[in-house]
């Protein structure tokens, strides 16, 4: 009972925070402390439910007249609740450091608690109506946060596209729930679970769910709004949208595909695996060619959502074939990646916010040398960048490792298409991992290393202490999550067992903290041992080298093959770093073409260099349909200017046609 009160109280606190901030300007500063408290309480309740493997439920006389508003917090919701509230806590801590006079506005702060509450409510909704209502609340509040800087035309464009895509997503989810409820119209999740739909309806529901949740999560080709909208919001809101809201989309997909739709068929696995793998690689190719710091991070979110969908698809495939051990590995990989991505992506967005605050710039080619100007942010951002590149011993690698183990079980799948999809997916995941490393070396190398490329970058300073604490907490989680992958997977055991009928063997490895996939004879990853040996090796090397070497270190001008140029413009920029990758991958994926225009000999005009990229996804899935809709609207426009007789004729004709259809079908 305490849990229900905790949930209700915390959500009430969020509502009060929103209300106060709407009413008076002086209450704006209260929003973040209240949100932080609510996030702690909500997170504690979620943690308790997840670890005790129980559930909380409540029913309110709101919503649909027949069933009311049903709320239920089961382990799956609780797990995602931990993800959400961890992100909300970090973002609120970061918000505490915002300047009261200049940085708090009535356009952002009142909406922040609504957004946080809406995400929590989507997770605990236990009927279709409530789910869709809160989902829409989440979309609209985040949309309002995106257009907070409405004077910027780019923000407005992002807001417009986001609104269209959010509407598309909600409509498809509406169809999905309509299919799930069936002709009887049982909209509570309990009723849906009792009566799972037949195979044809299930296929339609799955497609609708993939469109609805994929558009929120950024699955290619539904990703186009995400790299525009996420960066347009204030940075701590970007952290929430990218780190956390995409996870709510994953939750929606999991709730439908693993819970409401009943036992899976093997072919359900194909769309998430194929789309996910494409998304993973293409998302990073976009990221590696982009020059805007926050947009790169948003594209990398697209990639990570793809990775999670691949893991979920594999889990579906194994579950459908009753390979429960493999399903458990894939599902644990998916859940851990959800958790890990929410940590490092929030950390990176908060870091980007710190950079934006300190320099006023987000273009990578205008930054540089921040490791000296903002030393603390630089260290924390480095942790996030290495973690997201899936490098051991940080947390990104733990989920990546588990995912590869799941891919390795691919040969056991009896269906030919899945059998052969597995190695292809393995290759694409490896490519995505390598591209992620390249992408974040590029981001960190141009923004934080080297020499400052602008006055603002040279004059930057670290952000407020509480903001450093927010980033520090997330960085700590990235490190701990990397070392304690085994215990974390163990804690997820009950949830995974509930869905996959099996869980990872906890503590079956050679040391208590090791992560074991399948069994210890087959695959073990012991991050603490590896980290310990790397630490011992580097420290002994340090001691020995310092003992025998001449310890003096001289500072001098850079060597640079003998011709160092003092101008910071001679450094490699983000664009030049991306050039080899653009030539290798961009020519295929984006039809990249480089044009160099040289003036004729003797002419002293400057030479020109330009790069042309084609965004096929935009061209096919956005520009084309938009043109078609506009064209159709123009044609139909004539219908608005008819005489009353013609309208009457049209209505009569419609009636006759409908009646004749009814006569034929009955």
């Amino acid at each position: 009972m305490l849990g229900v009160y905790g949930l209700g109280g915390a959500l009430g606190v969020l509502a009060v925070a929103a209300l106060l901030a709407t009413l008076t300007r002086s209450a704006l500063a209260l929003v973040y402390p209240l949100c932080a408290i609510a996030a702690v309480v909500l997170g504690a309740v979620d943690l308790h439910v997840l670890l005790s493997d129980g559930s909380l439920s409540a029913s309110l006389p709101l919503g649909l007249p027949t069933i009311g508003l049903r709320l239920r917090l089961d382990p799956l919701s609780a797990f995602f609740g931990i993800v959400v509230n961890g992100g909300v806590l970090a973002a609120s801590l970061y918000g505490l450091g915002l300047d009261r006079r200049t940085e708090l506005t009535p356009r952002v702060e009142p909406l922040f608690p609504i957004f946080a509450a809406a995400m929590n409510l989507v997770l605990i909704a236990d009927d279709a109506y409530g789910f869709l209502f809160f989902w829409e609340l989440m979309s609209l509040s985040s949309w309002a946060l995106v257009v907070a800087r409405h004077t910027d035309p780019e923000s407005r464009r992002a807001g417009h596209l986001y609104l269209v895509m959010a509407a598309l997503g909600t409509v498809s989810l509406l169809f999905a729930f309509g299919g799930l409820a069936g002709p009887a119209g049982g909209y509570s999740f309990e009723a849906i679970r009792a009566l799972p739909p037949g195979p044809a309806v299930a296929a339609l529901v799955l497609a609708a769910a993939l469109v609805g949740c994929g558009s929120k999560g950024g699955l290619i080709p539904l990703h186009a709004w995400l790299p525009l909208a996420h960066p347009a919001a204030p940075s701590h809101v970007s952290a929430l949208m990218s780190g956390v809201m995409t996870k709510v989309a994953i939750y929606g997909f999991m709730r439908i595909a693993f819970d409401l739709l009943g036992p899976p068929a093997w072919w359900w696995a194909l769309p998430p695996i194929v789309l996910g793998a494409l998304t993973a690689v293409l998302g990073l190719l976009y990221a590696v060619l982009d020059r805007d710091l926050k947009r790169v991070l948003a594209y990398s979110t697209v990639e990570n959502v793809g990775v999670i969908f691949v893991a979920l698809g594999l889990a579906l495939a194994f579950k459908a074939n009753a390979f429960s051990a493999a399903a458990a590995v894939a599902l644990t990989a998916a859940l851990l990646h959800v958790l890990n991505h929410s940590w490092f992506k929030s950390l990176l967005f908060l870091g980007a916010g710190a950079v934006l605050h300190a320099t006023g710039r987000r273009d990578l080619d205008g930054l540089g040398g921040l490791i000296r100007a903002m030393p603390r942010t630089a260290v924390l951002f480095l942790v996030g960048a290495l973690a997201i590149s899936a490098l051991p011993p940080l947390n990104g690698f733990v989920s990546e490792w588990l995912l590869f183990q799941a891919v390795l079980a691919g040969p056991t799948l009896p269906q030919a298409s899945l059998h052969f999809a597995a190695p292809a997916v393995g290759a694409m995941l490896a490519l995505a991992a390598a591209l992620a490393a390249a992408c974040f070396v590029r981001v960190y190398g141009t923004a934080f290393l080297g020499r400052p490329r602008s006055v603002e970058a040279a004059r930057a300073h670290d952000v407020a202490v509480v903001q450093q604490v927010a980033m520090g907490l997330l960085a700590l989680l990235c490190i701990l999550g990397g070392l304690l992958g085994g215990p974390l997977a163990g804690a997820l055991g009950p949830l995974v067992r509930e869905i996959a009928n099996s869980a990872l063997a906890a503590g079956g490895g050679p040391t208590p903290l090791s992560l074991v996939a399948f069994d210890a004879r087959r695959s073990v990853y012991d991050a603490p041992v590896i980290a310990l040996f790397v630490a011992i090796a580097s420290l002994t090397t340090l001691v020995i080298v310092h003992r025998i070497s001449e310890r003096r270190t001289r500072r001098g001008p850079a060597w640079d093959c003998g011709f160092p140029d003092p101008s910071p413009a001679t450094q490699y920029t983000a664009s030049s770093f991306a050039q080899p990758l653009r030539r290798v991958y961009g020519t295929v994926a984006f039809a990249a073409r480089e044009t160099v225009t040289m003036p004729p000999p003797g002419d002293r005009a400057p030479a020109h260099f330009s790069v042309a990229l084609v965004d096929y996804a935009w061209r096919i899935f956005y520009a084309g349909p938009a043109r078609a809709v506009l064209g159709l609207a123009q044609r139909l426009n004539a219908l608005q200017f008819l005489t009353i007789r013609r309208y009457l004729v049209l209505m009569f004709a419609a009636l006759v046609i409908l009646l004749s259809i009814a006569a034929v079908t009955t």
Partner: protein
């Protein structure tokens, strides 16, 4: 602590120092073979050790714009590579580390070392450092998927991702001529050449500006820092040679339960195979020219395609392992 664990620990330690000890010799052999084939006298076999000793004792010159990352990276790169090298079974298959991490982790550890080095290359803010880092990461995006497919092929064949388990499997099961293994061998050799910055991907002896990749990245290093980076790349070469040995010619390696005698034979067999591999590398390097950077996708693409065909064949031939 039982005596068995102590012995295990000591054996693991012995392996760590053995790879460290033999790595400069392997590079020396390669250089010597190259020199002799070009009818040069060549440096003595032990020149690698002398170079390292010289560099360690020299003072280190840091660029004015270098940050702490530049000074820390060499130690971490060296340590990561060293631990990775110790993960590959050399003289025995049943050592302690074999339980700590598998091939996927091995590839990732090398990836971590590479990312740190690439960051260090960007740190001073010169054009050469950037060119090296950017090309190194581009090559990595081509080589790493191929590498991952190769190790997965072996993992599928042996039913485990632990390298020692794979080695045990191939020691126990007489190697039949398998198409997938032959393709993997070609692919792994190509990846090894790329990862170690050898000809035709990169030239370890060149300092001609526009052709440098690895050397451009570490151009600003000197003294003890350079010594560590050189040592790390020597270790990496030993690692890849050991990996090839462990996967394709594991005979002589002491199985898990072997005693001191087995380990001694294992050490001798491994050292001989390693030095032979280093000599073969020398022969290969004098018989081929370096490629242009943008021809590399084709070259590494061959590795990828071979690895992909290999894994498809492995998937076909192997059914249930779960």
């Amino acid at each position: 602590m039982t005596p068995a664990i102590v012995v295990q620990f000591l054996a693991q330690g012995a392996q760590m120092f053995l790879v460290l000890l033999i790595a400069p010799l392997a590079v020396g052999v390669t250089r010597r073979v190259k020199a002799r084939l070009m009818r040069r006298q060549g440096a003595p076999l032990l020149q690698g050790y002398r170079d390292l000793a010289k560099l360690v004792r020299k003072e280190s010159v840091l660029a004015e714009s270098a940050s702490w990352l530049f000074r820390t990276a060499p130690y971490l790169v060296f340590a990561l590579t060293w631990v990775a090298a110790a993960l590959v079974p050399s003289f025995a298959s049943g050592l302690m580390f074999n339980w700590a991490a598998d091939v996927v982790a091995l590839v990732a550890l090398l990836g971590a070392a590479r990312a740190l080095l690439a960051l260090a290359g960007m740190d001073v803010g010169t054009s050469f450092g950037g060119i090296g880092s950017s090309r190194e990461m581009m090559i990595a995006t081509l080589a790493e998927p191929a590498m991952m497919l190769i190790v997965l092929t072996f993992a599928i064949a042996a039913g485990t991702t632990r390298l020692a388990g794979v080695a045990d499997f191939f020691i126990a099961e007489p190697i039949a001529v398998r198409v997938s293994l032959a393709l993997s061998l070609v692919a792994l050799v190509i990846v090894a050449l790329a990862e170690n910055a050898r000809i035709p991907v990169d030239n370890p002896v060149t300092h001609l500006e526009l052709t440098m990749v690895h050397e451009a990245m570490v151009l600003e290093y000197s003294g003890r820092h350079l010594a560590l980076i050189e040592a790390a790349s020597m270790l990496k070469l030993t690692l890849y040679l050991s990996l090839l040995i462990c996967l394709f010619v594991p005979f002589g390696m002491a199985p898990a339960a072997a005693g001191l005698g087995g380990w001694l034979i294992g050490t001798l067999a491994w050292s001989a195979k390693l030095l032979l591999g280093a000599a073969l590398l020398g022969v290969w390097e004098v018989s081929i020219a370096k490629m242009r950077v943008f021809r590399l996708p084709d070259f590494l693409g061959v590795a990828f395609v071979f690895a992909f065909i290999a894994i498809l064949l492995a998937y076909l031939s192997r059914g249930a392992t779960v």
